[in-house]
Amino acid sequence: MDSFIVISLIKIFVVFGALMTILAYLQWVERKVIAHIQVRPGPYRVGPHGLLQPLADVIKLITKEDLVPPYVNKVLYLAAPFLAITMALLSISVIPFGPKIQVAGYQTWMQLTDLNFGVLFILGISSMGVYGIALAGWSSNNKYALLGGLRSSAQMISYELPLSLAIAAPLLISNTLSLRKLVETQDGWLWNWNLFHGFQYVSFVIFIIAAFAETNRVPFDLPEAENELVAGFHTEYSSMKFASFFMAEYANMITVSCMAVLLFLGGWVAPWPAAYGSGYVPVVIFAVAGVITIWRGLNPRRKRDRYTFPPFGVVFLIVAAVFLVPLLQSALLPLFWFCAKTGAILFLFIWIRGTLPRFRYDQLMGFAWKVLFPVAMLNLLATGLAIAVFS
């Protein structure tokens, strides 16, 4: 019992620390990727290739003046960012990152806790996350903030329906609500994943679209449409309170990406079994990356590349070597596949932000109710029928 508490505490610290780091660097990645899509370098001044930019941003946000306007509803104004960030971070607690591993004689799952109804838990938590935004908009006592809050709550209620219906179809196939068992049913080859196995392409696309709307991302970022609404629901927020909303948005992005991976793409499972050499994929990727980086450092196109590239190349090679250690493989390989799949979905988020313009509000609502909802319903019916016929 005591060791259980100690292990849980350690796991919570590790997951929380990793999540916070990823949150900070996801923002850096986003700025870099968007910058390159728009043919400009992006953050470049703080550290090599702007790598210390997130740290600088955190210091800036913490040291900024924390202003509470005199006309706000104090209690709800202070509670709203707290609510938003709590609900966003809470759902990471049920997400499994890998199978059971052994650390110094103790067996533990790479997951904080497994609930029998993990999927429902995440849906419930995300539906509570709306309040942070809605109450922030209302309590600011500002018409732009109010309109942003209203838009966001209407949008999230509307898109929660197709989202839930899209989730229901792979759940029918896997026949469980526990996220851990969900992954276990998709073990083995690529075609055992729910996306391919159950022919769930339609619900995957609906899930991704609804996830964009749920996290208020472009092309559905109407709650914070600058040219109509200033900054939307967080107009009146400054310093760490603003940062809470910002972090909540990115944490929600990570959560829905993890959900997409767990529901459709087999979670931490490799695309093909380890017996056919899937364990060597990360080694090859990191070794090739390391060799290319060192080679580019030795034949520099710009003068400074001679000093910045080789250290990164060495780091890549060390990572590649770490993946060869048999003791660490059982933990690192599932983690690699999970991060690779989640990272691919996150990249899709950023890619689409750099590509598509914003929808108009009536188009957004019409699309949810007249297109996504009926299609999700039909897909669920078809999946149910197929399962009833074939099993």
């Binding site: 429902l120 419930g124 539906s127 809605a134 209203l150 709550s153 209620i157």
Partner: protein, 166 residues
């Protein structure tokens, strides 16, 4: 541990429920009501009804209360003004309330002894499997009739809300 959790969340539920009535501003009342729903969900969880707890959060605390908050925000309703209280109400209010609560507690204790399992008619359990099985076998007819009733309500709402075509 379970007793402590029960006491904490039952306490939150009662205090928040009283707060719903006491608060003057509709938004504050709505937020208190969300707290009531949330703590009720935890109580369901303590009884082992995990699906019902999740449904409570998703449907009541999530969907329905968001609509409440949404409507209050749209109407931009202000705080209530204090109405003059009648003499009879302030004299009889507290005793009648206490008597009502006492009667409720007494009859609940009489009908359901301490060791009764939680049940709904003949149905026990609260996992997703058991609720689903019960809904689609034993209670199939009431379930379907309820869904048609809700459909009729939606159609009615649309007919009432629709602008007259010219």
């Amino acid at each position: 541990m379970e007793l402590i959790l029960f006491l904490v969340f039952a306490g939150i539920a009662v205090v928040a429920a009283i707060n719903v009535v006491v608060q003057r501003h509709p938004i504050s009342s709505a937020v208190s009501l969300i707290a009531v729903m949330g703590s009720l969900a935890v109580l369901y969880l303590l009884l082992g009804a995990e699906f019902i707890a999740a449904a409570q959060v998703i449907v009541y605390a999530g969907a329905i209360m968001v609509l409440f908050v949404f409507v209050i925000m749209l109407l931009n309703a202000g705080g209530e003004t204090k109405a003059g209280r009648s003499f009879v109400a302030s004299l009889l209010g507290v005793p009648v309330l206490v008597a009502l609560l006492a009667l409720l507690a007494f009859f609940t204790a009489r009908i359901y002894p301490r060791d009764t399992e939680v049940h709904f008619g003949g149905f026990r359990g609260g996992t997703a499997q058991s609720v689903g099985r019960a809904l689609f076998t034993t209670y199939l007819l009431p379930f379907e009739i309820t869904s048609i009733l809700i459909l009729i309500a939606i159609v009615g709402a649309i007919v009432l809300a629709r602008k007259e075509l010219e």
